[in-house]
């Protein structure tokens, strides 16, 4: 058994184990990578969760895009939630504000988070929000109702094939799981 290459074994095992550990880390690295990937390709219509700043677009008066607003409640969210405007024709580059209405239907304080999603996905990067209730969690006093504005602009670079952009918000009840 003199030819057993123990040293070679040891270094090989260490290398292979390092690959395994590295791949475990890679699994986690996929989380931020996926976010970047989504931003680039528009998978799932992920959209910015922080306010866009310094937007100065030239308004394109020759083109109109329909922007639709839809609202959903996750099954655990004991709320009412609606958009005051369902549909808007806008010129790309023009700023608009629409109001959303939400209400806590319980007798307890409620913390809720609205999650935006845009379809078609690739249009998401051209839809810029400068003000949105989804940027932070919302706290509702018992039975409180709120009217919340969203201010947005459509980037005039939006490719011509997109005629309608749908912005969806889903409210989730995160009272037991508030973000820190």
């Amino acid at each position: 058994m003199t030819r057993l290459p123990e040293k070679k074994n040891r270094s090989l095992v260490i290398k292979l184990a390092a690959i395994a550990v590295g791949m475990f880390g890679f699994g986690y690295a996929l989380v931020p990578l996926y976010d970047v990937f989504c931003q680039v390709t528009g998978i799932n219509g992920k959209t910015d969760t922080v306010a866009a700043a310094n937007l100065d677009y030239e308004v394109n008066k020759d083109r109109e895009v329909t922007v639709e607003f839809i609202t959903s409640l996750n099954k655990m969210a004991p709320m009412e939630f609606a958009a005051e405007t369902k549909k808007l024709r806008v010129h790309p580059g023009e700023f608009h504000t629409v109001n959303f209405y939400a209400k806590n239907k319980t007798d307890k304080t409620l913390v809720a988070q609205a999650i935006p999603s845009i379809t078609p996905g690739p249009a998401a990067e051209f839809f810029k929000k400068t003000e949105c209730f989804c940027f932070s969690q919302q706290t509702f006093k018992p039975r409180e109702s709120k009217t919340m504005p969203v201010r947005f602009v459509v980037n005039p670079d939006l490719p011509d094939r997109y005629k309608t952009i749908t912005l969806s918000y889903t409210f989730f009840d995160i009272t037991d799981k508030p973000k820190t």
Binding site: L12, I14, L16, A20, L30, T41, I115, G121, K177
Partner: protein, 538 residues
């Protein structure tokens, strides 16, 4: 680590320990190979019993035997048990038995780690099986564990996750061991491009395992922290995304299905030449096709998710990439056919199973190609068409090849010949019933039956009934296999087999140059002459 590597020498040079302790503390690759194979066979029957619960419930429309939640648990556990308990351990068992012998090594490179990875597998399997008896039932969200549904699992979730960790660590250790053995333990004359294809395919598989099992472990760990520690990897409410899980899972999951099929290719490439009495056609292209398939498996994962709402560019990319897999896979099928062409074939049981594998795996490949087409997958996805497809690539492919390998090498391992008549009976029963079982599922899927449902509309009744009949014939036929194996171990036909077992097998592999049964220790000194029939005898 040094303790693991060093100090296995003292076990060489004498026979096995006596009694039960032999099996618990063994570091001998043949003993461990046996342990893996026996475990795999036992789990094959456990998973098979679950499949029969499923097929019994689906025999007729209406719910006759089980509640839907339990049905979902059966679907989930059947897959987990078959994938992680039967097919993967069976191939590790074959690797343990055959790789050292095939490359002229005395044992695996890391014998103690070998023992540890086996017992970790057992622990993982016991843990996952124990979830069946927990409050809230076993996991019932499918073996893919998609959130948010999987987060509704009862007490079983953390146990299932830890079981996956154990099974993963066990596989990774096994894979490291196999790579170390192939890299460092080969007889000096055994260069890489002379290695038998079974060794080649297992080496590539081992690299796949090291790359993917940790990713899966990571994904299920994220599930665990999402459920218990308020993270939001997959929870939209916290900025996460359930679809992210699917991406991570299938990054693991697609190579994972090749983990189960690549060694299958290796065994088929070993068996067919022996019974065709011809060298394997295209050894080099076989090696490169295997490597290509392994590489492609990392860049096609989203074809499992065509309907989640990807942008068009993603759909098209994953469609094209997936279609590419047909090319190296085609090369393999053509090579096997060319190996048979102008041979002098005989049809002993291993060859029958190998031929059935080539034909039926190719059919699974065809349906795979159909599903690669994204627009048609919008119809096929999550239907029985998919169920038929992956069972064709797993049952009459991987499982049949495992049967073929057993018949092929069992005489070598035990020194006894199996009963050829019974073997052929087992083959024909299996080959016919597996098609009665799975072929109608193509029709069901095309006609609109979703997968993973415990009950169905009445227009699906007839094909389901036929499928269930096939399932019961197939399931009970495997008891015959068990009988044949036990009978062979206990003396078989009484006929003493030669060291070659099969005519001229000596030309095809080092294992046939050794006595039958294989001695407890083999190749304490490396062989100098390597059979090169698979290279055309050069």
């Amino acid at each position: 680590m040094s303790a693991v590597i060093a100090g296995h020498d003292e076990h060489h040079g004498h026979g096995p320990e006596k009694g039960i302790l032999r099996w618990i503390v063994t570091t001998n690759h043949k003993d461990i190979g046996t342990l893996y194979l026996v475990t795999a066979l036992a789990m094959f029957f456990v998973g098979g019993a679950m499949a029969l619960v499923i097929r019994a419930e689906l025999f007729e429309p209406g719910l006759q035997f089980v509640e839907p939640q339990f049905f979902n648990s059966m679907v989930t556990m059947h897959a987990l048990v078959m994938v992680f308990g039967a097919v993967m351990p069976a191939f590790v068992g074959l690797a343990n038995w055959m790789i050292p012998v095939m490359i002229g090594a005395p044992d695996m490179a890391l014998p103690r780690m070998n023992n540890m990875s086996f017992w970790m597998l057992v622990a993982g399997l016991l843990l996952i099986s124990s979830t069946l008896f927990m409050e809230g039932g076993a996991p019932a969200a499918g073996w893919t564990f998609y959130p948010p549904l999987v987060l509704q699992t009862g007490n079983a979730l953390p146990f299932a996750v830890f079981a996956v960790h154990l099974l993963g660590i066990s596989s990774i250790m096994g894979a490291i061991n196999i790579i170390a053995t192939i890299f460092n333990m080969r007889a000096p004359a055994m260069t890489l491009m002379k290695m038998p294809l079974f060794v080649w395919t297992w080496m590539i598989t081992a690299f796949l395992l090291i790359a993917i099992m940790p990713v899966f472990a990571g994904a299920v760990t994220m599930l665990l922290t999402d459920r218990f520690f308020d993270t939001s990897f997959f929870d939209a409410a916290g900025g996460g995304d359930p679809v992210l899980y699917q991406h991570i899972f299938w990054f693991f999951g697609h190579p994972e299905v090749y983990v189960m099929i690549l060694p299958t290719f290796g065994v088929a490439s070993t068996i067919i030449p022996v019974f065709a009495r011809k060298p394997l056609f295209g050894y080099t292209s076989m090696v490169f096709a295997t490597a290509t398939i392994a590489f492609l498996s990392f860049i096609v994962w989203s074809h499992h998710m065509f309907t989640v709402g990807m942008p068009i560019s993603g759909e098209l990319y994953f469609m094209y990439a997936t279609m590419l897999i047909a090319i190296p896979t085609g090369v393999k099928v053509f090579n096997w056919t060319a190996t048979m062409w102008k041979g002098a074939m005989t049809f002993e049981t291993p060859m029958l199973f190998a031929i059935a594998f080539v034909v039926l795996f190719t059919m699974g490949g065809f349906t795979g190609l159909m599903m690669a087409i994204a627009p048609t997958d919008f119809q096929y996805h999550d239907t029985y068409f998919i169920v038929a497809h992956f069972h064709y690539t797993l049952v009459p492919a991987s499982i049949f090849i495992l049967m073929a390998a057993t018949y092929f090498w069992l005489p070598k391992w035990t020194g006894h010949m199996y009963d050829e008549k019974l073997g052929k009976l087992h083959f024909w029963l299996s080959a016919v019933s597996v098609n009665i079982l799975f072929f109608p599922q193509h029709f069901l899927g095309l006609a609109g039956m979703p997968r993973r449902i415990p009950d169905y509309a009445v227009q699906f009744a007839d094909w389901n009934m036929i499928s269930s009949i096939g399932a019961f014939i197939f399931g009970f036929s495997q008891l015959l296999f068990l009988y044949i194996v036990i009978k062979t171990i206990r003396g078989g036909t009484g006929e003493r087999v030669t060291s070659e077992v099969w005519e001229d097998a000596r030309k095809h592999g080092l294992e046939w140059t050794l006595p039958s049964p294989l001695p407890y220790h083999t190749f304490s000194t490396p062989p100098t002459k390597i059979p090169t029939e698979h290279l055309g005898g050069h």
